[in-house]
Amino acid sequence: MAAIEARRLERVFSGGVRAVDGVDLEVDEGEIYAFLGPNGAGKTTIVRILTTLLRPTAGSARVAGFDVADEPAKVRRAIGVALQEAALDPLMTGRELIRLQATLHGLPRDEGRRRAEALLERVDLVGAADRQIGTYSGGMRRRVDLASALVHEPRVLFLDEPTTGLDPVSRKAIWEEVAKLNADGTTVFLTTQYLEEADQLANRVGIIDFGRIVAEDTPGRLKAQIGRPHLEIKLGDGAVKRAQEVVGRFGRPLPSKDGAVLVELERGAAEIAPVVRALDEAGLIVEALDLVEPSLDDVFVAKTGHRLEPAEASEQPE
């Protein structure tokens, strides 16, 4: 059974804004599926529809086997949600929040308390559990939000931009937690604007732009569709033309960039050594060498015609 299904899902806002413009989706149980797209692409709107916070204006969706429009209460019992707005109360302590969530899900008091303690341990917030959330750092807030989403052991977990604004260390911690959850069988649906996040975590990625899915596949296959890796070679004495002749034997030369010679390789890293040797034999000195893999950004550009992250590259962790 599909954990999440959507058929021709549409959401038009007053004023004619087509935030979701005909989306079909099928996420299997146990999958990690990521929506990748820039701000305003419709990711959050789709999550809000799937989590019963918003009604679609056309189309239908089912989560955990229940229709979101007709059986919302049943959907809510089966899902865990950590939204972008991190719906937290600064006056509550972490422990109180998770316990409240347990109560909202109808868990008996002792059971709720037991699970709260276990989750606090799991997200490493035991020390801060009795401090008010208003004093928590950004990373801590995301962790307590995540913990509260798990208190009723949901079958499907929705994470809307789970690591936006976090430092690299906190980001890695969230990724590890998500991977562990998935290993236990939870289906994870996440949205992100970070290529690396989609690449690292997701079994499948849906690229979304202007309310539509423009491409959907595993990260590897998406990248392979776009192209093969290429070498960027900077030469010592700038003999670009001669170098191009040499490397032309190994693969398709690409237009040179900033004085560097580019060549597309058929088989990737394995061909680096022969290329260098050939340049060496031709008497050309290699100053710098870089193997560039196609990124999801390239996929994004190819499918949508514009870049995903104009200046965000510096924000990505190593």
Partner: protein, 256 residues
Amino acid sequence: MGWRAAMATIGALVRRAGNELLRVPGAAIPGVLAPTIFFLGLTSVFGHLNALPGFTSGTYQSFLIPISLMQGAGFTGAATGVNLARDIEQGWFDRLLVSPAPRSVLLAGLVISASLRSLIPATVLLTVGFSLGVSWPGLGGLAIAIVIVLGMGTLAACWGMVLALRFKSQSAAPLMQAGMLVLILTTTAYAPLALLTGWLHTAARFNPVTQVVETARQGFVGGVTWGNTWPGLLALTGLLLLLGALALRGMRRTAI
């Protein structure tokens, strides 16, 4: 959701609302200060109205205090609406909506806390009032007044919630406050019906809250009779059913 879980949820929401008072220093003060200041101020300013023929009660304080009690409840309830608007703006409300708790349980949790909190300004007002010579209403009169305070707090909270759910913004706060102000003051608030002039006389005749005022007032200005009690309770119940239904409808339509 079973009734035990529903009770637990309502309890948790009431406790959370209590945090605002307990964990934010001085948060209770505006809710208490405003009605008390109005009580003291209005009795000082309009106290001599009591000399007009038509006023049958002892002092103007005794005449006015039920209004102040109701205003305190109205203010507290409206503040609940403002808090909900804030919670909607900041995303906290999504957490409640996404959970499987039924909308009626969420509504009850939000509204009951307002009702209980109305007792705080009421207690301060009665203390101040009695020390200034307000006549003792008798246990029956007091009980009736308290019931009406709780009811008005609930009513004001429902009103605040309807607006919060409709506008989803704290800028609706003045409307929440003004609505309650108008409802309570377009009655025999300042003077008996015979002494009201112009449009206010007409408004007070038809405003169901006038009945509520007279019911709350009876102990303070005279004796308590069933004949004076049931109209006010009926009016209050009717208004609660109406606004409660509107608030519940607003909650259920949040996904539109």
